[in-house]
Symmetry: C2
DNA sequence: CGTGTAAGGAATTCTGACACG
DNA sequence: CGTGTAAGGAATTCTGACACG
């Protein structure tokens, strides 16, 4: 695993790096926009990719997005990407979808 | 600055990642083999390069090195590299040191 | 809805010291 | 010398709740 994805930071450091409050960071987790790991003692652990993610989420909220909108939008994009991928695979295997 | 060099981890996580005890990690700092940063509240913060460094130090100690030997050895190597660098620069500029 | 805050407790980390070999 | 450990305190984090708009 890459360093970027290792969950190693406590929330205090994440606050420093992102400029967000603990409250905000925990709230975005509650709204399923971010998924830290936990130590045995319940302390949250974040990765650098989580940092990037948090900044992205915070920006969208500043732009007026709701948390559930962010979540739904991303879910749909992922779904679309999956179907694109499958279509591509079928095409490569059988040439079912021809360009014209 | 690269993620590898950001001082973001508390000692507990460093213990997990390196397999070393808190005692060992703090001792290597006392012996000037590693240099964590601090939060306002005195808590130590380590980077991924610190992790790599700690593993390297621990291996040398297992091989029978003393902490001051490790420090001195590295100091000398660095010194040598610096003088090599300067010689190279002089050579490039004036061709003082000719091969033959 | 998204965020601030005070509250009380639990987990984490810190330092200085004693111990061993 | 390098490391373990018990001790007591300080800093950090956690949860659930009340508040505002």
């Amino acid at each position: 695993m890459n360093y970027r994805e290792k969950k190693v930071m406590t929330i205090g450091i994440v606050c420093e790096l992102t400029g967000l409050s603990e409250r905000q960071i925990r709230y975005y987790e509650e709204r399923k926009l971010i998924f830290p790991e936990r130590t045995n003692g319940k302390t949250r652990k974040y990765s650098f990719t989580d940092i990037e993610r948090l900044v992205e989420v915070a920006e969208k909220i500043e732009d007026g997005w709701r948390t559930h909108e962010i979540r739904e939008k991303e879910r749909k994009v992922t779904e679309q990407q999956r179907s694109d991928l499958i279509r591509g695979q079928l095409n490569a295997a059988f040439g079912l979808y021809k360009k014209r």
